[in-house]
Symmetry: C2
C-alpha cells in the first residue's frame, strides 16, 4: 500500500495488530478516525492508554479488574459457598449477563491443552485448591466449554477434589433454546436424549 | 453487559464507536488488549493520539497528509498537466497502488448527493477551478465511482470546464479482469458491449 502519510501508516500498522482486523479494515478505521471531527481518535487513545496502565487481574479469582480484588469477590451479598469455574474473564461476563448465578467465580485462564503446550501448572488450579480450603466451598460448578480440552480439564480438577467432600456439577448440555432439532449435531442430540430430565407441570 | 471493570467498559465503549465494530467485537478486542503482554494497547493508543493531533489535509489537493502539502503535490517528478479527480483519500491510495498514474490528484471530499444534503458547495470544486487556472492543466481524469451521484458530479464538473479548453476523460468501465461474464450485472455487460474497443495484436 502506498501511504501519503507516515502518521496514517503507523495507525494502520497498530490497528492491524488486533485480532480479526487486516490491513484493509485497519485502513478503513484509520481513515475514518483521520476524517472524523468528533475527537473519537483521542477518546480511543485515552481509553486504551488507561487499559494498558491500570487494568489488572483479581488476586483471588483471576477475573479482569480495576483493583486488586474484583467487584464480584468484594460483593458481600454473593454466596461464598458456590464457586463457578470458567476458562476466561469473557465467560464470567457471559454468565453474569444471565442473572442466574449468585455465587463467586474462579477464572482458570485457559484449559489443559497438550497440543498447545498448556498443562495444569499453567492454569490457576493451585489457587483454586487453596481457595476451596480457605472459603469452605460446598459446591463447584464447572462452566467450561464442552470440547475435548474442556472435558480433560473438568476431569483433572474433579479428580483433585476427590477427598474434599465437595459437590461437583457441570452446566447442562443439550439442544439450544430456539434451535431446530434438525440442525443440532448428532453428539449433542444423542447426549440430550440419554440425559433427559423429567417434565414437570403444575396442576 | 455486566462489566467487572470500569476501565474495560470505557475501552469497549470507545472501540465500539468505530464503524463496523459492535459491542461484542469491541469487547473481544478490549479483552485481547487487556490480556496481551506485548504493549499492543500502548502502541495503538500512541498512534491514534498522534493521528488525532498531527494529521491534516493537503492545502492543494485535499489528500490526507502529515504536512501542509502532501508528498504527491510536492513530488517534482510528477506531471502537473494531468489531474485525476477522486472522491476521497482512500481512492488516491487505490490508484497509487496500481502504479499507472504519474500526474497529480484532486480530492473532492465526496460526491454531489442531494438526498444526503451534499451540494457542489460542500465539495472542493472552487479549489479545483482555481488549480486548473494556476497550473495550466491540460487533461482531467474523472476517477469517480460509477453511481448516480458520481455521474451527476462528473456531469456538473465537466459543464463548469466547458470553456477552458481542457481534455476531460473518465476511467474505463466494463467487466472486471478475472470476473465471470455470467455474474457481471446487465448494465455493466451491456455498456461494455456498446463501448467495445478494437482488439490489437502484434504480428
Amino acid at each position: 500500500m502506498n501511504f501519503s502519510s507516515k502518521i496514517l501508516e503507523e495507525s494502520v500498522n497498530a490497528l492491524s495488530s488486533l485480532p480479526g482486523i487486516g490491513k484493509k479494515s485497519a485502513l478503513r478505521l484509520a481513515l475514518h478516525l483521520a476524517q472524523d471531527n468528533s475527537d473519537k481518535a483521542n477518546r480511543i487513545s485515552f481509553a486504551l492508554a488507561k487499559l494498558a496502565k491500570d487494568i489488572c487481574k483479581c488476586k483471588k479469582c483471576g477475573n479482569i479488574s480495576d483493583f486488586d480484588l474484583c467487584e464480584i469477590c468484594k460483593a458481600p451479598a454473593r454466596q461464598n459457598s458456590i464457586l463457578c469455574i470458567v476458562e476466561s474473564a469473557r465467560d464470567v461476563m457471559a454468565i453474569e449477563d444471565t442473572n442466574q448465578f449468585k455465587g463467586k467465580y474462579h477464572v482458570l485462564g485457559g484449559v489443559i491443552s497438550p497440543l498447545d503446550g498448556i498443562g495444569p501448572q499453567d492454569l490457576s488450579i493451585d489457587l483454586l485448591l487453596q481457595r476451596i480450603k480457605e472459603e469452605n466451598t460446598e459446591e463447584i460448578i464447572m462452566a467450561i466449554s464442552p470440547t475435548i480440552e474442556g472435558e480433560t480439564t473438568i476431569y483433572y480438577i474433579t479428580k483433585l477434589l476427590k477427598n474434599l467432600n465437595i459437590k461437583v456439577s457441570i452446566i447442562a448440555r443439550g439442544v439450544s433454546f430456539g434451535g431446530d432439532l434438525e440442525y443440532a449435531d448428532e453428539l449433542t442430540l444423542g447426549r440430550s436424549i440419554v440425559s433427559r430430565v423429567p417434565y414437570q407441570i403444575e396442576y
